[in-house]
Amino acid sequence: MNPHAATPADTGALDSLLWVVLPYLALVAFVAGHAWRYRYDKFGWTTRSSQLYENRLLRIGSPLFHFGILFVVLGHIGGLVIPKSWTETVGVSEHTYHLAAVTLGTVAGVATLAGLAILIYRRRTVGAVFHATTRNDKLMYAVLALTLALGLAATVDSNIVGGGYDYRTTISPWFRSVFSFDPDPALMSGAPPLFRLHALSALLLFGIWPFTRLVHMLTAPVGYLTRPYIVYRSRDPQLSARAPRRGWERT
């Protein structure tokens, strides 16, 4: 199926664990975790904004981080999801792609990391914000910062310092192979260490994602663009604590 597919004997047990078992664990945790959280903790599903406590630093840091990460996500979709053959079909050469990806990726990555640095600095130094920070938040910030830093480091190290690394022949096919349920760990074993560490920390991030405040991403309010301004809703049909039992519905 995949031209780079190696025979199972080539891949060690560790590779299988890291690039087959772990991705699926993270995927299951991500999907099932969100379903579970949505079912049991709608009330906790929020941004938990701290703007009320402090506004000056947030005004710079938050848009910097969020817009940065939006571009980072777009870049990842372009790099991981869209196969190299597609972009070449429409006439985008490897060099052009590489130039655009490295430039935009570095700018977006630096903006994101700078925004995150401001936000973490704010979180640590502003008393009210630090007071409202949970252990869960601290773990999330650590994993998020690690993932972003590794990602930016991998890009800078291999493309700006080094001679360039075409992840679209190794990492991207592996990423897609996970979703086609035909995972190929051998593709990852040859990738540079920084890329592999970045992927691993990202897997960890996706694993803890549904249990942190990051859940607000999944409910980004894009529906606001199309809904009417005034929302009318009927009163809940029931007043009591329990739904009426079968045969006892209200008349």
Binding site: T46, L52, P221, L239
Partner: protein, 577 residues
């Protein structure tokens, strides 16, 4: 002959309130009871669903009326279309990561508590230990510099009067005179607007207006804490719970209103100045009314949206729209409709925000009367009072800035009506022949004036609060008779346990609905009302003093043979049996 279907008009019912500012003594009982009922929780320490402001004054949060700064409410754009003042959908989403108009905690105040423990566990020392104020936000020591009504009663003083947003709109010379004229109180709750800008500002669509009674609520399960509603509301009556990360607002005490009880603020109002009732309106006229070109025409435009509940056509349309018969009857008896449309003495707060607010106010006449009295003239003589209303332009201009977007004519008319009522009733109270010329001079009939007097001065509980209960048709279970599942009490096995995230998460337990009959039954029952179970909590507020519910006293140790019986204890046991 039956009317054709397309001539039918949609009719909706709105639960609304009118406050008679003449009677407000600024006691803050409404604020305190509201806080005890709704915002006595961590995360909402600074939140006052109901607050009482001294006018002139800054209000709460400070200078909330300065819409050039906060950009709350609606405005007309260049093409005359109604738009959110802070920007439409795209601009909201672009600013979602940091709301540029969100009031900071400093605009409210930093809530605090006191370190009372020091008072009891401080070591012996020369000076009395003190309970230091501790911030509820950071937990650190703070200096208290401001709170929800820090400028209470300081209205006209030079230190605070100049910070009033409205006074800035009136000329300087007026300001100086103003300081010597009067001060009054303005209790404020959520306006439950017909055209709510908070609802329009919510990116998640979590805030909604209930179709049955028009109460505006925040769905706590759908709110994601984007904070756009806080800045979108020009009255700043949506607050951000900094612990849960969700918006919260005045609920019009919907669990009480649904069973026909008035809101807590109205129930506990010492001056009995609040009126609650229904108003029928045409929802399809709302947008047009809110788009009225001139700010000063908004008051009349909003009144035109309301429908006459005694008009047979309106009744037919209301029934066709699915409004229950008893709700239409309640709308006919509604004191709110009477004060707004029949007697026309109630005015909306800041109609220029174009949200069509539904908590209206009867402007205060008392300061005018006091002013006349200090001059030594008869303060209730019609000629004197009318002349005073005329002469006291300053308070009228100020009131007009509050209630009619600056047009003094409607305020003048209201104050004249109130003044005429005083003069007319004075003749009756003194046993003199009433003068029909007095009501006629303000365009009212004698009977109508007397009815207005009754409603404003004498109205009893059931006349001030005409609240039809919600039609959930579950009255049986609300009565808490013992014919439901016996395991369905709070924390009972029939209720299911708390979710994996604990009590504060998951489907919230609905607020218990108490009614008077229930309370009376508990107070007059021979047996304790609490069901017997192992995990019973004792609610001392409901304990009638008879018997002792399990858990109230610690269980006594089982008697052993070789110890002397405690005479004190056995006496108590005897008394119990």
């Amino acid at each position: 002959m039956p009317r054709r279907a397309q001539t039918r008009r949609r009719v909706m019912a709105q639960t609304a309130m009118v406050m008679n500012l003449d009677k407000c003594i600024g006691c803050h009982t409404c604020s305190v009871t509201c806080k005890q009922a709704w915002t006595n929780r961590p995360g909402v320490e600074y939140v006052w669903f109901n607050n009482v402001e001294t006018r002139p004054g800054q209000g709460y949060p400070r200078r909330y009326e300065d819409q050039e700064k906060w950009r709350g409410g609606w405005e007309l754009n260049k093409r005359g279309r109604l738009t959110l003042k802070a920007g439409g959908r795209v601009s909201k989403l672009l600013n979602i990561f940091s709301n540029p108009r969100l009031p900071a905690l400093d605009d409210y105040y930093e809530p605090w508590t006191y370190d009372y423990e020091t008072l009891t566990n401080a070591p012996l020392q020369e000076h009395t230990p003190v309970a230091r104020p501790k911030s509820l936000i950071t937990g650190k020591d703070i200096n208290i510099t401001w709170s929800a009504n820090w400028d209470d009663d300081l209205g006209g003083s030079p230190d605070h009067g100049d910070k009033d947003v409205i006074l800035a709109n009136i000329a300087d010379q007026v300001k100086l005179e103003f300081e010597q004229t009067f001060m009054f109180y303005l209790p404020r709750i959520c306006e439950h607007c017909l055209n709510p800008s908070c609802v329009a500002s919510c990116p998640s669509g979590a805030i909604y207006k209930r179709t049955e009674d028009g109460i505006v609520l925040v769905d706590q399960d759908r709110c994601r804490g984007w904070r756009m509603c806080v800045s979108g509301c020009p009255y700043k009556k949506i607050y951000f719970n900094h612990r849960t990360g969700k918006a919260e607002k005045c609920t019009f005490c919907y669990p009480r209103v649904e069973v026909g009880l008035p809101t807590v603020c109205a129930e506990t109002c010492v001056g009995r100045l609040r009126y609650i009732g229904l108003v029928l309106y045409d929802p399809d006229q709302v947008l047009q009314a809110a788009t009225t070109p001139k700010d000063t025409d908004l008051y009349e435009a909003q009144r035109a949206v309301f429908l006459d509940p005694d008009d047979p056509r309106v009744i037919a349309d209301a029934e066709h729209s699915g409004i229950p018969r008893d709700w239409i009857q309640a709308a006919q008896r509604s004191p709110v409709h009477a004060l707004i449309n029949t007697y026309r003495v109630a005015l909306p707060l800041h109609p220029e925000y174009r949200t069509l607010p539904m908590v209206w106010y009867i402007p205060p006449l008392s300061p005018v009367v006091d002013q006349v009295r200090t001059t030594g003239y008869d303060a209730e003589d019609r000629g004197n009072l009318f002349a005073a209303v005329e002469a006291l332009r300053i308070p009228i201009d100020y009131l007009a800035q509050l209630f009619t977007a600056g047009d003094p004519a409607p305020v003048d008319a209201v104050l004249r009506r109130l003044a005429a009522m005083r003069s007319y009733m004075r003749d009756i109270n003194l046993g003199r022949e009433p003068d029909p010329a007095i009501p006629a001079s303000v365009g009212m009939g004698e009977e109508q004036m007397y009815d207005m007097y009754r409603l404003l001065a004498l109205a009893k509980y059931d006349e001030r609060y005409v609240i039809p209960p919600a039609h959930a048709e579950q009255a049986h279970s609300l009565e808490e008779l013992a014919t439901e599942c016996s395991l369905d009490y709070e924390d009972g096995p029939g209720m299911g346990g708390s979710g994996p995230f604990g009590d504060a998460s998951g489907t919230p337990t609905p607020i218990a609905v108490e009614n008077y009959r229930l309370l009376r039954e508990r107070q007059t029952a021979d047996t304790p009302a609490t069901p017997h179970a192992e995990t019973t909590r004792v609610n001392l507020l409901n304990w009638d003093g008879k018997g002792h519910p399990p858990g109230l006293f610690p269980t006594s140790a089982p008697p052993t043979d070789n110890t002397e019986p405690n005479p004190e204890k056995s006496r108590r046991d005897d008394r119990d049996r």
